[in-house]
């Protein structure tokens, strides 16, 4: 027998059986590992950490590994996904002192008026009545344009889509905000929905 002839006889029943077992197992292992990968992905994407601010009475679960900022006066906290591109996905809670006759709709009207001063290219897309738990709420959807403030960075402005959900708590309006690049808005909306399911105010 020559060295260059493959000595294996693939028509032998034992060899053929081994080939079938190997081939079948290869497919099964691949599918099983990809299934594990999807479970793993889901567990990482849905992982949260508790957030609690006793002073302002806000509590909820925010996504794990997001950057938390509590340093500014105009919001209670802001959580951002540092890996998101081209806009860092944002969940924010802010409080606004309101009069005794205020309702969520009047707060939304105020936000609509102030919007163009706060956010360039501000454009309201919809305002709708909704609820958060047992409380009445008003949701406003809008878009604006985010430009990098650093003039040395050559970047294209990003169209950002946002949601402000307004609920009243005594003489305060709680404004729950979610913002993301328009292209990722729907994909990342579940982060905000999960936060809304756990938020206490």
């Amino acid at each position: 027998m020559s060295y260059f002839e493959n000595p294996k006889d693939f028509s032998e029943p034992q060899v053929a059986r081994r080939i079938n077992i190997n081939s079948g197992l290869a497919i099964m292992v691949t599918l099983a590992l990809m299934g594990l990968g999807m479970i793993f992905r889901s567990s990482i994407l849905n992982a949260t950490v508790p957030y609690e601010d006793e002073e302002n009475g806000i509590r909820g679960q925010i996504p794990l590994n997001w950057l938390l900022d509590e340093s500014q006066q105009d919001y209670v906290f802001r959580a951002e996904n540092p890996n998101a591109r081209p806009f860092k996905t944002l969940i924010q809670v802010s409080l606004l002192t309101v009069g005794p006759d205020a309702n969520p709709r009047s707060v939304v009207d105020l936000l609509v008026v102030q919007g163009p001063n706060r956010l360039p290219g501000y454009h309201v897309q919809s305002v709708s009545e909704t609820s958060l738990g047992e409380d009445d709420a008003v949701e406003i959807q809008y878009s604006f344009v985010q430009s990098d403030p650093n003039p040395f960075l050559q970047s294209v402005p990003v169209v950002v889509q946002g949601v402000d959900l307004v609920v009243l708590r005594g003489n305060q309006a709680v404004i729950l905000t979610y913002r993301d690049a328009a292209e990722n808005f729907d994909d990342n909306r579940p982060y905000f929905d999960r936060f809304l399911q756990t938020v206490e105010y």
Partner: protein, 293 residues
């Protein structure tokens, strides 16, 4: 008077190796790409070439490995006594599978950019291995397994030869998408193109080794699944270390990723070469035949 010429007795020459060599052309092809990438890195660093997005140069660089493969492997294959059939078919089939199956699943289902960059080191290894790692390697495996295997497998190195074609097709699709959709600067595109080619060929060679050994040697019933798992884990390890290699404080150093992928590829291919050489030597001893090298 008649002249008589003495005929020289024919010398018993060395029997020629009937197959095209695999390791040497592969090394040359990888070297050609490395030289082109280094040229781009130096010229952009020196300001000779503008380090901006250039679709034509980046496309040329993305297609260079296929051109080198055609010149050093496919063309030479025709000169071999026992040429390998179907290498070009494997290359194109792998491109079709990569573009039609792997890329949509990666970008629509796995979306690794959404959850893995921020994950811990071991989570990154498992995350990449169990998603894009296993998918990429299974596609390369399936392209070779269900076309050329086992009828075209005569020696162990056939596994490396066919898997190289499959890996090259797969990586070229990723590189062309990188050029047309990501619009990277020239230096960044060059580094990413080299990374894709090197790592897919190196890890694809692991699949090739397992297929080659399965065709020629005596293997267990879980040999191929083991090969897929090993290849997927290697892929995960590369992605996880790459995150460390290219991060440098708040900035990034792409050169770190370049060294990493060259190191991993050299190690994997070197180890496979040694294992195949040893297995061939053992088999030749066992069968009592002389090896032609």
């Amino acid at each position: 008077m008649r002249d008589f010429q003495l005929l020289a007795p024919s010398e018993e020459g060395e029997e020629p190796f009937p197959y095209r060599r695999v390791w040497r052309p592969l090394t040359i092809e990888l070297g050609v790409l490395a030289a082109a990438v280094l040229f781009i890195l130096f010229t952009t660093r020196l300001g000779i070439l503008a380090d901006t997005y250039s679709r034509s140069i980046s496309s040329g660089l993305a297609l260079l490995p296929i051109a080198a493969y055609w010149f050093f492997s496919i063309r030479r294959e025709r000169l071999a006594l026992e040429p390998r059939q179907g290498l070009t078919a494997i290359l194109f089939l792998s491109m079709v599978m990569a573009n039609g199956v792997a890329v949509p699943i990666m970008s629509e289902l796995f979306t690794p950019e959404r959850w893995l960059p921020g994950a811990g080191f071991f989570n990154r290894i498992l995350g990449y291995a169990f998603t894009i790692g296993i998918l990429s390697e299974f596609i390369k495996y399936a392209v070779v397994r269900y076309t050329m295997w086992p009828n075209r497998f005569r020696i162990r190195l056939d596994g490396i030869a066919y898997s190289t074609a499959a890996a090259l097709g797969f990586a070229t699709v990723l590189n062309m998408r990188l050029v047309f959709y990501d619009e990277l600067t020239l230096s960044s595109a060059a580094v990413n193109i080299l990374t894709n080619i090197y790592i897919h060929i190196a890890i694809g060679a692991v699949i090739g080794y397992f297929l080659g050994e399965f065709a020629v040697g005596n293997t267990s019933a879980v040999w191929l699944p083991t090969g897929l798992v090993v290849a997927a884990i290697l892929s995960g390890i590369h992605f996880a270390f790459r995150g460390i290699a290219i991060s440098s404080g708040l900035g990034s150093r792409t050169i770190g990723g370049l060294f990493l992928v060259i190191g991993i590829s050299a190690a994997v291919l070197g180890i496979l070469s040694f294992i195949i050489e040893s297995a061939d030597a053992r088999m030749a001893d066992k069968l009592g035949v002389r090896r032609i090298r």
